[in-house]
């Protein structure tokens, strides 16, 4: 942890508020900029370690970062201040956008623009999938497990919770039997 005094509740709120409103299409790079470069709350190595944990835990990564950071500095209230700061303005904005969409969705031009927007948004998810799957290259076991998941969820439309409860222990056991080289 850096030598600076820990941020106050208000600083946590305003800090995460600032990333909430500028973080278009992925908030994590902005979070790193604010936490490490602008405010100096964590060193780069501390941030990477925190992010590793937050990516492994369920839930949106940025929300987990807000919780972990807020609670590290200011306990439960710090976590609440950071999460509320992160989400309050974007929630208002997204509902406003949704209301505008609902009001104008019957206009042909809005419907066409939304279809184009949605197609591009799918491209964002495809790109994320490629980036997340890239480290699996060369790991046959990992690729096999990932393919089973793809077929189960996208092909067979099996329920997620049951699939994960079954596959997570199997995957960990297999990775124990076949250690990574």
């Amino acid at each position: 942890m850096s030598d600076r005094p820990p941020p106050t509740l208000a600083a946590l709120f305003w800090g995460f508020l600032s990333i909430g409103i500028i973080g278009f299409g992925g908030v994590l790079p902005w979070a790193r900029r604010m936490v490490v470069e602008q405010r100096g709350w964590l060193t780069p190595a501390e941030f990477t370690d925190l992010l590793g944990l937050c990516q492994f835990l369920p839930g949106p990564n940025i929300v987990n970062v807000a919780v972990a950071l807020g609670s590290r500095f200011r306990g439960p209230l710090g976590a609440v201040a950071a999460v509320v700061g992160l989400l309050c303005l974007p929630m208002v904005l997204v509902v406003t956008l949704g209301a505008a969409y609902s009001a104008m969705r019957d206009q042909p031009v809005v419907a066409r623009a939304t279809a184009g927007l949605a197609a591009a948004a799918s491209g964002l998810v495809v790109a994320t999938a490629l980036k997340i799957a890239a480290p699996l290259l060369g790991r046959k076991l990992g690729i096999a497990v990932a393919l089973v998941v793809v077929v189960a969820i996208a092909g067979l439309h099996l329920p997620l919770v049951a699939t994960l409860l079954l596959l997570a222990p199997v995957s960990m056991a297999l990775h124990r039997l076949v250690p990574r080289r």
């Binding site: 929300v63 974007p90 066409r112 184009g116 197609a119 948004a121 997340i132 990932a146 998941v149």
Partner: protein, 176 residues
Amino acid sequence: MAAGAPVADLAVMFGQLSLVSIGGVHTVLPELKRQVVESHGWMSSADFAALYALAQAAPGPNMLVSTLIGWQVAGLAGALAATAALVAPCALLTFLVAGAWHRFRDRPWRRLVQDGLMPLTAGLVVAAAIVLSEATAVSIGHALVTAIAAALLVLTRLHPLWLLGAGAALGGAGIL
């Protein structure tokens, strides 16, 4: 169909998804779509894709798709319930685990858990990409937009907002 209490249904659905969304909201998109579109019949597949696109185009984390879905299904109460139900369980878990995880960072089992879960997360996000692309590829032109946007994002450092704007502009101009 929703059985009278959509706010409660929303809270239960997002509460469950919260604890399995390892790696973020992307991983639960197929399940979210399955429940919202098929199990509950709250909206069409195209509406779901549109709401997700709006959540991506708006500032803030993509998990705000929960706010939009909640709002669409049950107004303000639905928006608040859906968002809180998605955030609270995983936030509580992070709060409890964050300290312990730091202490155990050199233990071998931690590596095993990471190695074992990583392919699951990757598979889930790939599945999400397939399911979402199926919903948005309403024409060859739309499928091309998805493919080109994905390629540009992987190969260049272009900001995603440009691609979303270009997709909307091409669609609005009637080119797709």
